[in-house]
Amino acid sequence: MQKKIWRKINRFAAISVIALLGAMPVGLFAQQAWEPPRTVDGHPDLQGYWDGGPVNASHSIEDGCCDVIHARMQSRTADRLGLLEPLIIDPPDGRIPYQEWAEVKRTQLLYDMETPTELGHIDPEDRCLLLGAPRSNYRGDLEIRQTKDYIVILYEWAHAYRVIPMDGRSHVAETISMYNGDSRGRWEGDTLVVEAKNFNDQVWLDSHGSFYSDKLRVVERWELIDSDAIRYEATIEDPNVFTRPWTLAFTMGRIGGDDYEFFEEACWEGVTNKHRLAAGRLAVAAGERQLHTHEEESQ
């Protein structure tokens, strides 16, 4: 975490220097533009292990996370409960632009998740479902490998992976829906652009019931901005659920040394939802409903 903060400070310093230099003749510095390391195919080399999006984002891309007890378990102080900076950069208020009916459903989910009576009330992450794009990218560490025809992203969490064909082939048929969707990549200059569709409607964008429909379309932009940082942007569109396309963005940092390896992270093999559903049904039968909040934070 400290590393991440330092990176942000460094970036701020770099931006300040660039701003100062901006006042000077451009020609003097043009030749010093940062040149990314490249693969044999001439594209930026994104390979290696990365730390994914900011801590807390997977809990809520709008607010971050969490209650004081969870923070303490993760050795974080109370002032580190939310997101360090907004994840959603557009719209400017940092909120998901839900349609009216969708806002109602989302609020309902914030009740249901406290007292689940069916599987759809439980955060997909707790059910070990593939989390799709963009959520997989802020759920934990990831590994990128590139060949001529494919970019592969391995996620340590639940041994999820994505294979992104780079050969210009078309998407699978509309009738095929998948938890991780169907991704196609291309290079726009030095930026990797991935278009993903063919999602199903089972996954949330975070633990706060931020749902979408099977009409979801995601355009991701991956750009190596220095040898140890990738700027990631995802534009999210779903005419069934949102009033307009919206964008989240963050920077991920390189992790691991030469001998770094992911370990197998089995998820489903150790999960049971039976007891949560039983408890949820008992609570609902007793008339106990409550909204999921982070009010403990202010205590």
């Binding site: 479902l129 060949t147 639940a158 041994h159 938890y179 991780n180 370990f263 039976k274």
Partner: protein, 245 residues
């Protein structure tokens, strides 16, 4: 003039030799990349078996026909077989282990890099990283579902040594099993552009009287648009499994 011609000849010869050396180096690592799948009935039963409802008949893939179980283990296998509908770890959608993942009737994709080979399986999005950098297995014992894989090239054969298994996976639906002392050695040999000879040796002193071997071809999927899709077993079965798992 003569000197110049000689120099040119020498430099051409050098380039030629260099080119040979480079292509020779490339030839040392056959290209196994692609999407592959088995076409057999080993996922149901790696030994010879008749057909039954929903299960195609099949000839065994075990060298010599029978698996050399220790007497107690043969009894355990028979009990597993009797209870297979629920006792098979795949009935609750667990990861299948190695080598069962290879002969599940689902495609898998091999990608090769200098220091590692990735195998991505469609079945419950299982992945394996086979480290090719000469590194050793991590200290253990570690209970991995898919084990820890370290590979090397022996001539044109990819040899993968796999240990650190748990004792929860089976070799097939028929109840053939192992302990956590399982040691698997896989051998992948490209036999032609579209076939890999897959040979796998099983060693487990807790369960078997001696090491034994399975072998089968892997076939390259030929469809021009072939790609891995999803088979999210537990997501599909979750509603049922939430009742009693």
């Amino acid at each position: 003039m003569r000197i110049a011609v000689t120099l040119v000849s020498v430099s051409m010869a050098t380039s030629f030799l260099l080119a040979l050396a480079v292509s020779g180096a490339e030839a040392q690592a056959p290209n196994l990349e692609g999407i592959w799948q088995t076409v057999n009935t080993a996922a149901w039963d790696i030994e010879d078996h008749s057909g039954s409802l929903g299960i195609p008949a099949g000839q065994g893939v075990v060298d010599g026909g029978a698996i050399p179980y220790q007497p107690w283990a043969l009894l355990q296998e028979q009990e597993n077989f009797a209870n297979r509908a629920t006792a098979d770890p795949l009935a609750s959608c667990a990861m299948p282990g190695v080598p069962r993942i290879t002969y599940m009737p689902y495609p898998f994709q091999i990608l090769q890099f200098d220091d590692r080979i990735l195998i991505l399986y469609e079945y419950v999005h299982v992945t394996r990283t086979i480290y090719m950098d000469g590194s050793d297995h991590p200290d253990g014992h570690i209970d991995f579902w898919m084990g820890d894989s370290r590979g090397r090239w022996e001539g044109d054969t990819l040899v993968v040594d796999v240990i650190h298994f748990n004792d929860q996976t089976w070799f097939d639906r028929a109840g053939n099993f192992h302990s956590e002392a399982l040691h698997v050695v896989e051998r992948y040999t490209l036999r032609g552009p579209n076939h890999i000879d897959y040979e796998v040796t099983i060693e487990d002193p807790n369960v078997f009287t001696r090491p034994w071997t399975m072998r089968m071809p892997l076939y390259r999927r030929q469809e021009p648009n072939v790609q891995l899709l999803e088979y999210e077993c537990y997501a599909y079965a979750e509603e049922d499994l939430a009742k009693d798992k």
